[in-house]
Every structure is written in C-alpha cells, then in structure tokens.
Subunit: 242 residues, 2 copies
Amino acid sequence: MKYELYYWPGIQGRGEYVRLALEDAGAEYTDIALLSEARGGGVSALRRYLEGDDVERPPFAPPFLKAGRQLIGQTANILLYLGGRLGLAPRDAAGRLWTHQLQLTIMDLVAEAHDTHHPIGSALYYEDQKAPAKRRAKDFRENRMPKFYGYFERVLERNRSGAPGMVGKRITYADLSMAQAIAGLRYAFPAASRKALRATPRLEALHDAVLDRPRIKRYLASKRRLDFNNDDIFRRYKALDG
Amino acid sequence: MKYELYYWPGIQGRGEYVRLALEDAGAEYTDIALLSEARGGGVSALRRYLEGDDVERPPFAPPFLKAGRQLIGQTANILLYLGGRLGLAPRDAAGRLWTHQLQLTIMDLVAEAHDTHHPIGSALYYEDQKAPAKRRAKDFRENRMPKFYGYFERVLERNRSGAPGMVGKRITYADLSMAQAIAGLRYAFPAASRKALRATPRLEALHDAVLDRPRIKRYLASKRRLDFNNDDIFRRYKALDG
C-alpha cells in the first residue's frame, strides 16, 4: 500500500505523529502538500478534500490519510488504522485499545500545549493574547505538564515487560508520538521540561530510545524533517517558560 | 456483559456520552460512583483506579469503563469499544473508523465548549478568568461553533442513505453524542445556538430524532439523567452568550 498524507506545509504539527509512524515502519508514502500545485500538490490538494462537494466522508481538518479509496481523518484515528498494518501496535484487541487510549491522552497533552500560546482563539495572533497566554502557560507548566508526565511515567513503570516503551515489548506508535511530544515541549518550555523530566527518568529514556531507532534517526537527519518553529503547535516564547 | 461505568457524580460531563450509548442499547450497567462508599462506590471507587499502585493500565481521567477484566479509558475509546457490541456502529471496518473519526471531532467541539469558561486553567475558578472567558466565548460563538456545525451538517447532507444519522441507515453512538453536544450547547449558549441551528436544519433534526428514541426518552425522563448545571462542561453564563 502506498499512502498519501495530507497536511499543511511548513510545520510539523499534528501531521508529524503520522509521519513518524510511516517513517519508522519504512512505509511508502507521499506528503502531498509538498508536491507542486502542478503535480497535484500544495494547499490546493488539501482544500480539495476539505471543501470539495463530492467528498463523501470529509475530514474536519488535516492531517488526513488516503489509503487506497479510504480517506481517514483525526490524528489518533489515522494511527489506529496504521498501527496494526505498520507493526506499531500489539496484535490483541485489548492491547490495541490501550495503545489508542494512550495516543488520545497524548493528543490531549498536545492540544493543551498549543493552547498555552493561543488561549483565546487559534485564529487570533499570539500578540493579541499575550497576557492570558502567560497565565495559561503558568498553569500548564505547574499543573498540567507534571500531571501528564507523571501519568505516562507510571504507565512506563507498570509495563512489566522491561521494554522502554509503554505497551508490551515492542515500540508502538504511541511511543513515537510520546517522544515527539517530549521533544516539542523541550523546544517550547526548555526550563519547565528540564524540571519535569528530572522527575520522570523513564519518560526521558523512552524519548532517547525512540530517537535512537535507525529509521527515525535517518528521518530526523533528512530534509523531510522540518525544524520546530513558531508557526507550529510547540512555540518557544520566553515569557511562557516562566 | 454487565458494564461498570466510572465517572464523577453530580455532573453529566464526558460520562454522559457513554451513558447515552449504554441507555440507548438497553445495556446492563452500574454507574459506580452513584453507589454508596459502603457498597464500593462513591469517588473512592474512582480514585482506586486512578491512583492505585496495582492498576496495570490506569486511565488518565474519568470516564472509564470496566468490561470484565478490561479497563478502558478515554470517552471516544470507550465508545469505539462499545459501538459494535451495542449495535451502535456499522459492521464494516471503514464505517467504524469513520464513526470514530466523527466522535473524535465531537470530543474536540466539547473540549472547546469547556474552554470557553475555563480558558486559563481548569483548576481555577471561572470568576478568576471571566475577562479571557468572554473573549474566548466570542471566538467560539462566532467562529468555532459555526465551523463545527457547518461541518456536521455537510456530513449529514452527504449520508446518502436518507437516514437522520451521520453514518449509513442506523443511528450510531456518534449521533447520540452529537445530540448531547447540541443539547449542551443549547443550554450554555441559547442565543448562539438558535442562530447556528437555523443554518443547520439537518443537525437540529438529528438532535430531535435522537431525543425521540424510546430508550433515550425514558432515560432523559428518569432520575438517572442529571440536569445541566454550572459545575459541568456546558455552563450557562449570560456574559458568554454575547
């Protein structure tokens, strides 16, 4: 199967969680928005599915994945679909549901990280919501981030297989996503991350184990991997790191 | 199978999406927190799973469901599990993924509705974030709510089965959740809801069709159904309805 990934160009965003799974599995895929408009790419390709009258099951927002004739939206849903196919989820139904549950919790963390710089509205500029952003970021650093990190650390602790991942012996897509979230939070909140990770050594080790996987390493060093930047979900504003 | 639902007492919250599915299917379930502490209920029963050292796969937050020995967290994940078992999801894999995708988008809408009254932090009082709440609610009413409603109206339009639901001929758990979200938004934003629903007649008809289902009707008239209230996700603050 050759997959087509549809996501906004120029940022990692939520598309990155899908990319990491595809890259780690060595799957064949095209990042459609990176093709030229002439070759059917660019933002027009996304809009065709978001706005086209003939799309029977339209996604609400990118990322979405085309797999044959199937169009799949919602990041965690895409990974639920890909997990088994790419060997990045357990084989048993209960294990798959648990992996998906972790992924949904990671997506909640990511949404809250985003809202630190956009607490009032995602369509408004950061500059127009700096004061509430500072307050929300404080709550995120002091309460939410430690709560999420503490939770995932407990999950790692209780995976009795002794593996570095959260579910069973093998790395899952949720582990790849967790590593990406940690990396993003490190970019956005370097001081708060240092503090949080000191208390969650298993989480830091998971991050390192994922970044050490050969295909992930190769991907991160490639031109396909975009840098973290301040148009993205994770943003580095000094005022928000306390 | 006799299910056990774990959710905070006193509010509908995210537990309500699970309750509606269980009620519509006539499933046997116990709302554990409503039992007395002496009978193993109350908030202690929740805390046992949230904080207990011996829980192998702990949920991050309520709601969670016990089904036999399986413990399942994250609202949309619980419904993914229950959907097929309760006859509230299509039989084919693509249809199930699509239903789940819609559910995840509904959960995004619900999270945004919550953040209108808590844009700074969910652990702080509304009274301490009234000014940013007013700004966020304005953005929600004017941009986000119409965007979500417009999206779901298109989804209904494109369900060519002619049924009132979003997926195929039969009502799914996503339809039940959609009706609950519409009802909640009507409570919280009566004026904005009137305006939004005028533009989305199919969505209003879906809401009415769900509330007209015999088991849902009976549930809503029962003592098991709590009223909307201002400790809940959907809150009626006059200042936030514009």
